[in-house]
């Protein structure tokens, strides 16, 4: 589903090199965790996948279901099934959450040549997904993410993810800012979306999230490269020993 080949990237503005040759293949049905210390390039990778133009790819390629992802606009990637759950979901004053959900779902359907959702059908889907994630109707009437608590913002991200039914879910530190109860609700929401057709890339600092969302593969990212790949036990080992073994301390 996702093939990242020798990806090099830098910050467009000041040309700081961030990614230095990432290779990663994610197949349908798999959950990959990417762990690593601060500044290792985890969030940059997620933004590049979503198409943020603050970054410049200098070498390598990304194939998404065989297509050159780097040539697609952010909205085209979304319509093709890419979803990024943001680390810091942004507040959008004046845009009601409900209106935003409808616009996003219908925009993707339109791009894929599908019928627009009828209002009752849309409402039914939203209500079902919202109840699983403990998202109230009051929240949905408010402007998107405005005045939402940290936990509410993350639940709203997962709500969007379940409604948009992406093929590839990239979760960027979805556990940050969550208390234990919120972490459980969010993880259950994510686990519900696990399926043989869908792949996930879970980016996190801590092993804690991976107790809830159990990965098939764990990668350690350091200085813009994957330095170690293993199964879920690798995460446990990192939790115990830290990243020191994988980070070039001489730097």
């Amino acid at each position: 589903m996702l093939e990242i080949k020798n990806l090099h990237a830098r910050i467009a503005e000041d040309e700081t090199e961030i990614l230095n040759g990432i290779n990663l293949t994610v197949n349908p049905g798999e959950v990959h965790a990417i762990m690593g210390p601060n500044g290792s390039g985890k969030s940059t990778l997620s933004y590049i996948l979503a198409g943020k133009d603050d970054y410049e790819v200098t070498e390598g390629e990304i194939l998404f279901n065989g297509e050159n992802m780097l040539e697609m606009e952010p909205d085209e990637r979304a319509a093709a099934g890419m979803f990024l759950a943001f680390q810091y979901p942004i507040e959008i004053p004046g845009v009601a959450t409900m209106e935003f959900l409808k616009t996003a779902m219908n925009a993707q359907r339109k791009a894929r040549g599908e019928e627009q959702l009828s209002i009752p059908d849309f409402m039914k889907r939203v209500k079902a997904a919202a109840s699983h994630l403990n998202v109230s109707m009051d929240m949905l009437k408010r402007p998107l993410n405005v005045g939402f608590s940290g936990g509410e913002k993350k639940r709203a991200e997962i709500l969007q993810m379940s409604l948009l039914e992406p093929k590839l879910c990239v979760l960027d530190e979805t556990d940050s800012g969550l208390d234990i109860d919120a972490l459980r609700i969010v993880s259950e929401g994510v686990n519900k979306l696990r399926s043989p057709e869908r792949a996930m890339v879970v980016i996190t600092h801590y092993q804690r999230l991976l107790d809830h969302i159990v990965p098939d593969v764990v990668h350690v990212l350091s200085k813009g490269r994957i330095v170690k790949t293993g199964d879920k036990d690798l995460a446990l080992e990192l939790e115990k020993n830290g990243y020191a073994d994988y980070v070039d301390t001489a730097a």
Partner: protein
């Protein structure tokens, strides 16, 4: 005292002076009205059109903009009117009364005069009223109104309009749409006098429709809001890329009264919505909103002066501007607080969103306060669309244009929603979408 130096008239000024000579015999009014017209045209002759050296027109140089002046539009041909009104129906199926002024003159036949009379609203022809005994009184400005070049131009050329009298205590069941129609090319000068009796309540929709061509349209609304009365005016200033729209409000507000207005500009080449608001009684409130849009080479100007001449009144001014292309937006707002107008509460905010590199915004909020026990504030911002917001929306599959529309609408809606006239909110947002789709 002042020695006036003769000025060199521009083509437009010469045109206007000639047009006045051609038209004067046919313009309605008593001898006293004719004298007011004469005085107004003399002022034009002496001072010319308002220009950038006149502080109030510093950012909207009418003299430089007007290259020529078209003759006044001839009387409208009745058969065309209904289809024009149907084609350009800004408020859709909203239930409302209608009063039509076409090519400068009130059209009884297309207005709901009888239904309004049953509700306690008397509608009469400004053209007729100018001929009568009180004609000069109707045309004269309140002492508090400024000596403004655009109003003077209106006084000189006024062809007609309506006199609306909402009787004491009357609350209409639905709004009145006052349509000003350009059925054929030519300039129009229209004056309305709208009196809201004690305790009465009126919701007014003011629209300007039709193919105005190159002729400038100059309309003055003179509102007299009595004690305890309430007026909400939704003004939709739209028009083709060659249209010039000069619209003025003069509002005199009594005690315990409320005046609320939303001035919406989208489309004309040169549009100025100027409002002069004067509190004459205590415990009253004015809430003035603006939604200002310009693209291409357009100029959209919202100018207002709120005079707190008496104590214990509140005013709120909230204006939003969106600019594209090489357009220019202007906001000039001034709150004056007289020495004895204690306990005044005034709050003014103007915000602009620039969608292009070439667009330009002039924000000029001013407070002039002579009383010492008041709460007054003003603010101004200008900015661009936030790239992070745009990226978030696009990452959810919303194409760039649609995402921009959503963000612009969200920006402008703040003013529309605070104006809080529920039955027009959706229709105004629809007009915003329409404008954005064309840019």
């Amino acid at each position: 005292m002042n020695v006036s130096v003769p000025i060199n008239h521009t083509q437009a000024e010469s045109d206007l002076i000639d047009r006045f000579e051609d038209a004067r015999a046919g313009l309605p009014g008593s001898v006293a009205v004719a004298a007011l017209r004469e005085a107004a045209i003399s002022q034009l002759r002496e001072r010319g059109l308002p220009h950038r050296r006149v502080e109030e027109y510093k950012y909207s140089d009418l003299r430089a903009f007007l290259k020529s002046a078209a003759p006044l539009a001839a009387a409208a041909q009745e058969e065309k009117l209904e289809s024009l009104l149907k084609d350009q129906n800004a408020f859709g199926d909203l239930d409302r009364y209608r009063i039509v002024v076409a090519n400068g003159s009130f059209l009884d036949s297309h207005s709901d005069v009888e239904d309004l009379a049953r509700e306690g609203v008397v509608v009469s022809n400004m053209g007729d009223a100018l001929v009568g005994e009180t004609g000069a009184q109707l045309l004269a400005m309140p002492k508090t109104a400024p000596n403004d070049g655009v109003i003077q131009l209106n006084t000189a050329f006024v062809q007609g309009g309506v006199v609306i009298d909402v009787r004491e205590g009357v609350e209409l069941s639905k709004p009145i749409e006052l349509v000003q129609l350009a059925a054929s090319a030519g300039a129009q000068a229209v004056r309305h006098r709208i009196s809201i009796g004690k305790g009465a309540k009126l919701r007014l929709l003011e629209t300007f429709v039709g193919n105005a061509g190159d002729g400038e349209l100059n309309t003055v609304f003179d509102y007299d809001i009595a004690d305890g009365a309430n007026l909400a005016s939704t003004r939709l200033i739209t028009g083709s890329i060659s249209a010039t729209r000069l619209i003025t409000s003069i509002a005199t507000i009594g005690a315990d009264a409320e005046f609320k207005s939303l001035g919406f500009i989208a489309g004309p080449r040169f549009a100025r919505n100027q409002q002069f608001i004067n509190f004459t009684g205590e415990n009253s409130e004015a809430k003035i909103y603006g939604v200002n849009m310009a693209g291409g080479e357009d100029l959209a100007d919202q100018t207002l002066i709120v005079d707190h001449a008496v104590p214990h009144c509140n005013s709120r001014e909230f204006f939003k501007t969106v600019l594209d292309g090489r357009s220019k937006g202007v906001y000039q707002g001034r709150i004056n607080v007289a020495p004895h107008a204690q306990k005044t509460d005034g709050e003014m905010m103007t915000q602009a969103l620039l969608l292009s590199e070439g667009a330009e915004m002039a924000n000029k909020p001013e407070l002039e306060i002579f009383a010492d026990d008041v709460i007054c504030a003003h603010g101004a911002t200008s900015g661009q669309i936030d790239e992070d917001l745009l990226f978030y929306l696009r990452a959810r599959g919303i194409p760039e244009d649609e995402a921009k529309t959503l963000l612009v609408l969200a920006f402008l809606s703040e003013a529309i929603e605070e104006y809080d006239e529920e039955d027009v909110t959706d229709r105004l947002e629809e007009r915003v979408r329409e404008w954005l789709a064309g840019h």
